[in-house]
Assembly symmetry: C2
Homo-oligomer: 320 residues x 2
Amino acid sequence: MPEITLELIREAHARIRGQIRRTPVLTSTRLDELAGAKLFFKCENFQKTGSFKTRGALNAILSLTDAEASHGVATHSSGNHAAAVSWAAGLRGIPAFVVMPRTASRFKVASVERYGGRIVFCEPTHQAREEAAAKVIEETGAALVHPYNDGRIIAGQGTVALEFVEDVPDLDAVICPVGGGGLLAGTAIAAKGLAPAIKVFGGEPEGAADTSLSFSSGIRQPVTGPASIADGLLAFVGDLNFPVILRLVDGIITVPDAAIAAAMRQLLEVMKIAVEPSAAVAYAAVATGKTAAAGMRIGVILSGGNVDLERIPWAKEVSV
Amino acid sequence: MPEITLELIREAHARIRGQIRRTPVLTSTRLDELAGAKLFFKCENFQKTGSFKTRGALNAILSLTDAEASHGVATHSSGNHAAAVSWAAGLRGIPAFVVMPRTASRFKVASVERYGGRIVFCEPTHQAREEAAAKVIEETGAALVHPYNDGRIIAGQGTVALEFVEDVPDLDAVICPVGGGGLLAGTAIAAKGLAPAIKVFGGEPEGAADTSLSFSSGIRQPVTGPASIADGLLAFVGDLNFPVILRLVDGIITVPDAAIAAAMRQLLEVMKIAVEPSAAVAYAAVATGKTAAAGMRIGVILSGGNVDLERIPWAKEVSV
């Protein structure tokens, strides 16, 4: 695996930009006042399929040789990556096999189906999922598209920050959520490549703080039983991503679920946009005040907007 | 009152554009497929104070002479116009007196307070509201800023369509909600002034269909007890606005509340944006299929996003 560089991210952008949205950057006077900083929100919730995951998935799938692509692609994420892989495979005209636990929500199943993914249900354990994916790949010859631990994915996700730093000059800091670490690693490479003085932060749920733990100790280590309403961020940070994060990222900020729900609600109420809990984490981290001194210009990556409206996670007791 | 012309709308735009947002136009592949048309959404839900009402209010308030403005402004709308007048008066550094019924929701009161409006509560009847407003104006010398039946307001609201037609060439049709008719009249003047072949439609709640009734008969007439979840559209179409609508608008499409709620939900789920019921009406009208032949390019004005999250109006039985 070659080192992921700004140049690879630029190549990824050239490969995918005709098919993805250049998402808008929104601002809010009221949230600036609350944060005591100037905030810029990069709205990947408006991206094709509803999240930034289209970028990495499309970059990976368009990077396959015809021979590699000839039997389709496979993945075993049940979330936004699965929808993105299904969509990107459809663009290339190849099948996408998606292994999902049979307990996956109707919302997630519907999303994969909408983009033409072929769902293979399995038991809801990590072992069953890996076995089912291996079996699908063996039977079909499909190429695995990993959700985060893959250079083509990291380069694709880095195109978010590439656009962001191009569109908003003089950002002092940029923050994005961290789960498996593909977005954070790509963001750090792109942002620091373009603007070496920029600070890069990751926002992580307290209930799934493996990256924070690993970052503090310098040794990649999982947490037991990760759990959070930010269901896209439960993955263990990848071994390709972690060294990049350790080298380039300035800090990981953890936030409790109540703060994530409050952030999600505030973005809906004030900015009029729907973001999913995993995306609200980055804004929740900024709202802690730990990212920046007063008056700084902070870029917040709102990574996705696929909210299951049957499960809006705020209760009346969550104050904003 | 001079005739409202495209030129007056251009002048209004020059007057206000430094203080308002040029709101983005968003699109959705999925909603295009559902509608069988190419839809463009002008997102006034992202406008300052959360609705297009800032445009007319700011134009009216900046048009006052120093003598007229010296004692502040007054209005008796309790919704988005009240917030917009409060905000615009603050920009000019003059007080805004807002007469609201004492039964107004906490959400609306908070919005007016946030922008510095001085609230005068009254009994929740039309007569009490008018009397209270007259008393405020008599006591303070404030200038009345009417929510819709005013040339400066119509010209200000027309700037939405001015930007829309500039930003999206070759629209076949444009649609916006109609309550008192300021937005619809301004939209028709601007859109047909810039592009004479464009069709202009109004979307109206079935429960408050006075404009539809008046448009069909050619005679301005109210309906008894207007009621709808689109609480911004209950006003009786103004006598200045109606002749403009009758002359320039191609049709009024009415929609039931269930369709309004479904439209609001679909915009949140698919487009990831919050719009209030009064704004969802225009999209609900398009979804009826009455605006356009297949494949047409339709501009939809999403007029505001001030959703009271304690009162989201869809129930599980509303299917989308």
